[in-house]
Amino acid sequence: MERDQDGARRTVFTPIGTQARVDAVVRRLGDAIELGLLADGEQLPGEPELAAQLGVSTVTLREALMALRQRGLVTTRRGRGGGSFVTVPEGPVEERLLAHLGSWSTEELRDVGDHWTAVSGAAARLAAQRTEPDDLRQLHRSLEELADARDAAARSRVHGRFHVELAAAAQSARLTREEIGIHAEIGALLCLVLSEEKHLKDLCDRHRAVICAVQDGAQEQARARAEQCVEVSMGRLVELRLGAPGLAGGPPGPHTKEGTRGKQPPSRRRTGRP
């Protein structure tokens, strides 16, 4: 039986936008594998079909598959019964995720954080304006599951669902799609934050406070609290990123302020280990 996607999983195979395309494909598929959205041994669609689904050329796709093979996330077999297959690599997940985090510059993390802050903040404000008790039930359920979830991947999936549900409570299909896209992009990285019990507890408390503000119809408070949820998560990711300067693919040293790289073309992120 062919398997396909849930909300997060569906975005795995949607067209890629403005990011450097090879890197974007590598990230999209790599994160899906790290998050368990694509299972070990699962066959990816054929190259022409996958390229069409992602909205990239087959050349781009092949480069991306090559990078994924180098990272050990995909194996390709030729000939009859061949194709590209998902391989979930051996070894500690955390180490792989930290290496993955090393391929993000702090500026990119800041930028995706800004985007997510805007989306979740707006979603919370609108939800507070438009909510009814039925909307809140899903959010409460997700929060309970988040607090109880054992492994980081499960926590990340439920945490993503919370934000999707918040945007759905705002009655906005667009904000909901944005949340789904954001979590497809950084859901795997957030495992690094959510695996830390201290941060998990703090985030659960903060998300609970968002629900309270939404329930009270306190629009600005809901917005501020949702923004803080995002800022805390992304702040922790940046800390982890800065604490691991020697990791693969990191930008060269501390001189990443404006000016030093301004004249360079957009950086080609190295997503594989050297």
């Binding site: 398997r3 849930d6 299972a39 009814e132 299909a173």
Partner: protein, 271 residues
């Protein structure tokens, strides 16, 4: 809440109010007819599914996903009909099938009119969305045993669209086996209903039982917003005559759980 008081104006005012009232009744009837036609397709899926499952139940054999594939020709035909429906199918109750814990036999029509299956990964190991039994379109039909209109809501399980989902329980020998359902995306519903809504002399909106606006010609209360105050549930549970609330006229749309909200007829001579 009683029915709307008649305006106590002169003959002209009465005529005007009466004609507005007739138009509102027409609008309510139009909304009812639009969604009753969607419920007709739901009923067809329900009949097909029950007819498929009944002999298996009689044999004592548990159905499989392969058995449900027999629903496809009917589902495809329903999707290809003109009308506002964008998704149709049967959603199995957990545990119904022998080879899958949960299952949606669900088909959607794409922008180009092509019909395609919805393939969800409902393995709880991979998906945070594997439990669909809390969604209103499932829970309402299961718990009430009646057909249901869910939404408007953002359907982040199947389409990521702002939708209405109409559903009905499928029971075999008294046992709930799942729901037959159809999706209407809000743009299609608005397109179907807006022309008749715009025939009204003043702004109006359609809300669900909790006051959520589905379609509106009032720019201050657009789809997705909440109208607060009236007990819309009581209007639906009432005698079909509707009610008045602080200058608003609330009118049910037949047996469809949506309410047409208009300004009560103006009474310039009376005040």
């Amino acid at each position: 809440m009683g029915s709307s008081p008649r305006p106590a104006g002169g003959p002209d005012v009465l005529d005007e109010a009466a004609s507005a009232d007739v138009a509102a009744a027409d609008v309510a009837a139009g909304v009812r007819d639009t969604l009753e036609s969607v419920f007709d397709t739901v009923a067809e899926t329900r009949t097909d599914t029950a007819a498929l499952l009944a002999p298996l139940t009689a044999e004592g054999r548990q159905p499989t996903t392969a058995d449900l594939a027999a629903l496809r020709p009917g589902l495809h035909e329903r999707l290809s009909r003109p009308g506002p429906v964008s998704g149709v199918g049967f959603v199995a109750a957990p545990g119904l099938l022998a080879d899958a814990p949960v299952w949606l036999e669900w088909w959607q029509s794409g922008a180009g009119g092509e019909v395609r299956p919805l393939l969800l990964d409902l393995d709880p190991e991979h998906s945070a969305y594997s439990d669909y039994t809390h969604w209103e379109w499932f829970a309402l039909a299961r718990d009430t045993g009646q057909r249901a209109v869910a939404g408007p809501y953002v359907d982040y399980l199947c389409s990521d669209e702002y939708s209405l989902t109409l559903s009905a329980p499928v029971t075999v020998e008294g046992r709930f086996t799942g729901v037959a359902a159809a999706d209407v995306y809000l743009p299609a519903f608005e397109a179907a209903v807006m022309p008749v809504l715009q025939r009204l002399p003043g702004p109006a909106c359609l809300v669900n039982s909790r006051g959520r606006v589905a379609v509106s010609t009032d720019a201050r209360h657009l789809a997705g917003s909440l109208l607060k105050g009236p007990d819309f549930g009581a209007v639906l549970a009432g005698n079909g005559e509707g009610a008045s609330y602080e200058g608003l006229r609330l009118r049910p749309c037949g047996d469809i759980p949506l309410i047409l909200v208009t300004a009560a007829a103006e009474q310039p001579a009376a005040r």
